[in-house]
Homo-oligomer: 632 residues x 2
Amino acid sequence: TTAPNPPLPFKEPLDWVSRTRYCGELTPEDVGKRVRLCGWVARHRVHGGLTFLNLRDHTGIVQVTTLPHEYPDAHSIVNDLRLEYVVAVEGVVRSRPSDSVNKKMKTGFIEVAAEHVQVLNVVRSKLPFLVTTADDAKDSAKEEIRLRYRCLDLRRQEMNYNIYLRHKVVKLIRRYLEDVHGFVEIETPILSRSTPEGARDYLVPSRVQKADDTFSVMVFVLAKRLPGTFYALPQSPQLFKQMLMVSGFDKYYQIARCFRDEDLRADRQPEFTQLDIELAFTPLEDMLKLNEDLIRKVFLEIKGIQLPNPFPRLTYAEAMSRYGSDRPDTRFNLELNDVSDVFVESSFRIFADTLESGGIIKALRVPSGAKSYSNTALKKGDIFNEAIKSGAKGLPFLKVLDNGEVEGIAALASSLDPTKKEQLLTQCSAGPGDLILFAVGHPASVSKTLDRLRVFVAHELGLVDHSKHSILWVTEFPMFEWNDAEQRLEALHHPFTAPNPEDMEDLSSARALAYDMVYNGVEIGGGSLRIYKREVQQKVLEIVGISLEQAEAKFGYLLEALDMGAPPHVDTFSVAGGIAYGLDRLVMLLAGTNSIRDVIAFPKTTTAQCVLTKTPSEVDPQQLKELSIQTK
Amino acid sequence: TTAPNPPLPFKEPLDWVSRTRYCGELTPEDVGKRVRLCGWVARHRVHGGLTFLNLRDHTGIVQVTTLPHEYPDAHSIVNDLRLEYVVAVEGVVRSRPSDSVNKKMKTGFIEVAAEHVQVLNVVRSKLPFLVTTADDAKDSAKEEIRLRYRCLDLRRQEMNYNIYLRHKVVKLIRRYLEDVHGFVEIETPILSRSTPEGARDYLVPSRVQKADDTFSVMVFVLAKRLPGTFYALPQSPQLFKQMLMVSGFDKYYQIARCFRDEDLRADRQPEFTQLDIELAFTPLEDMLKLNEDLIRKVFLEIKGIQLPNPFPRLTYAEAMSRYGSDRPDTRFNLELNDVSDVFVESSFRIFADTLESGGIIKALRVPSGAKSYSNTALKKGDIFNEAIKSGAKGLPFLKVLDNGEVEGIAALASSLDPTKKEQLLTQCSAGPGDLILFAVGHPASVSKTLDRLRVFVAHELGLVDHSKHSILWVTEFPMFEWNDAEQRLEALHHPFTAPNPEDMEDLSSARALAYDMVYNGVEIGGGSLRIYKREVQQKVLEIVGISLEQAEAKFGYLLEALDMGAPPHVDTFSVAGGIAYGLDRLVMLLAGTNSIRDVIAFPKTTTAQCVLTKTPSEVDPQQLKELSIQTK
């Protein structure tokens, strides 16, 4: 951090105190006008006795040139500038000579001839990367360096665009909800309480507090338990928004910070932002339509993309059957086929055994895939590895030859007599040149494998039509799914989701009144109607292994609220329910970037650290003492 | 929680599925119209064979009446309703008979004649208080009960008004900043790092994370220190917003959640909401004007209050001298007078000794106060106790008699010869009937006592002109104040505040480029220009006892950023600086309530607990094990 150059002398205060324009907004219409700009030196070069300077502010870049004879002081200051110096420039806008017009640049037809220039601050460290060059070739700076020097990184045009895009999206959402539908934004607590939503909570130790006579009775009861107590950071405002419905706030929304202490994946953050919406007294169809209108408006106004009206819907059962996924990307077809009946009593033992033990066999036809994937690749290449990573034990496949015969896994091919072979090809709509991939076993694992292969193949073979936009609702999720590790049922959404009234006789296999919004294979929002009857709520909690006693202790207030006039009765087809969108992910998709970290100003890494501030960090032992906690 | 009544049978789904209007918005113009309403039973009475029902939704209340002969089913259902049942009503709006018009009620000229009524949900618990009655007599339900049953409490008209008011204020602020000035809202982290801002941090233990090869180098270094590391919840986004200025985002704002683990006072919350603003390249006067315009707009549009333009300004020195406070309430005059020179070599030893040991003597004249306070009250009553609570050892006083003589503390009165007496009365502008209160000692303790007495007297004697609105800037705060407990200087605002360039020779006594906005004696916002030079920043940190080494460890990233082009140079009179408003407090003042808890949907008590969710709470020992922490 020693100065590579001696700092420039600071000049006297400017005789003007205010900039008049922004760099990126100057156009040929401004030619002849005097402007005052502030910004950073984005490029600096000396060329034929003239010095050119690119000046950058948050709106963009403009070229500044000097007039050595008329304004020698300005020329001399500009000559001595370095990249990323902070400067103020006063001058006149003029057309560029035709040979230096840059049509790629928004301000490429004009330049500012500098008459007065003042250095506002210098750079005294060696820059870890060059802001403007890093823009041209994003990969020139590794992400860890970009995050470490986030101030420079955020000056890059791409990051600047992303942050403004995020703001634009949020602004649009707020105004739509407020102005068109009369929603009220209500803040809910961050220092909150653990709720049973699946992921691990972040905890905040409470200092021991003395009882306060203002709340004598209440506090006395609580105070006895205070040592060793914790707040939890909310995984979502779920219970609070349900309480708001009971409180009479019909149309609530919040741009809410949420927290999950998970082992992170590439596109997850320990803290993330959720667009949280809840309504009462609104018919379900109206609520879905409102959400469709909202998302259509966002895509149209932000990206000029016209999404369908209405959004297509798939039931969970249909999505799993056709795509092996509850968030299918329908920009490409590649549907799955259940071919179990072809292999009943097959001589190919793995298949026959699977069927006998209650499993299924499904096939994915890859059009013209026979030539795209060599037998070697299918037996030990990337595609084979994809199958293995999904949990499959192997990748059975067949190729359809030009003469209509099949080859591939020899024992599989030979197990098919001509009738069975015809049946298989018909069921898969497969013909000469096609490749058929199989997965066998329990429906869940078969789906997992073929979903993964389907997406892999589509991207690898360029079957994704990028001009298309796949958006749909997935509905009728099951209430519960089996958690094999814990050997119990758990809520597929969360245990406050209402069951379908038609399925009340056997709740454990009931469909939920839940819906996810899926864009290009990514879940961008998910919601449900809520349970409004105490006895149903208790039963659902029981199924996921939460006893009445535990429920009373953890969220007795919700159970109580259900008995004090919770709106409304689902049988009327009106809804007390809502939805939550992953805002970071939605903005990421709109920005066209692959990393959620590129749409968050100060994100954490995949190991939940902030490399800028070196967080988490050790703390003063005195702080831990005050909290009555020890680290092991 | 057992049912006081058997639940009513649920009817078939309504043949309409959507409400058409809100209760509170119906007017005589709607007479004759068919409406569909949903809401809660706010009042229910049987009167002369007719049943009247008040129906409440978030917009207000409307009276519903029945037509027993024409619509016997609706009549019968309404008859069986109970308070706070959730119902849907379809009927026709009609004028009330003139003898039942209620001019106090917004909808008091009309009623809805119910043709179809459906119960959407019932109440099965005994209600801890009655929503509508609690509205009429707020004190009928103690705050602990209101917080415990917050769902009911939030149905009260007053709370409903406050929550909507809060939303309206936030909406107005956002739009002003975005539309008039082009501000961008940027979210900063909640899982953050401890910064030296005075108050105690809430800590969040980090689970030990494995190194991830995506960030191999960086993480390897950090990973070694990870066990026993913590995030801190931010006390403000201060450093992040300074980083955003260095990143080129000129005009940033955020409605930001902040956290302080303090021993709470009545109007503090452990988590609170801050309107956070930062600008670069803007002249200081423009920034102050922008903030004045914002607050003027809020008061005008929300409350119809016209605040002055421009806001008056007081320097810190002047505020302390005239009012003994850096947040004076100027709705009443009652100014302080330094009368030290009257008592030089006085025979009244306490006063003379004080002066000899470097203290001062100040006086507060209470106009016509001689009759308002008996000598007994002044020697041991409430006003005396106020003085004692402020830290004073006693309350010296004099009363000016009709004949111009003084009496009170005898030794004090007798110590004044006629010249000195005249001098005193002249300096205090005191005349017959006035009371003069004294405080002696170090300037800080004198200010503390007289500030407290000034406010006490003004309220007790009705000297506060409630039609007035006192708003002003306090400027030129000192950079540092003495922390007697820790025997060191500490930053009066925070250690990133820029010193006045005129005072650079002795930083420890320098004035800061800081400003607070004060409304009716309450600080509603505070801000400063920021240090932009690394060497100044290091020097300030040194003065408050943070070594270079500690600074590098705790916020080296800020020091680094200052060397990479931090905007801009204060000598240009442009500003990189900002302000933060306590949003909860601002809304509380606008709502005209005395408790910050009345403008927060789910607040904590003064002991930092949520009595609704029983937070903080004990957690599963397994969670602590995963975090590698133990409670003692």
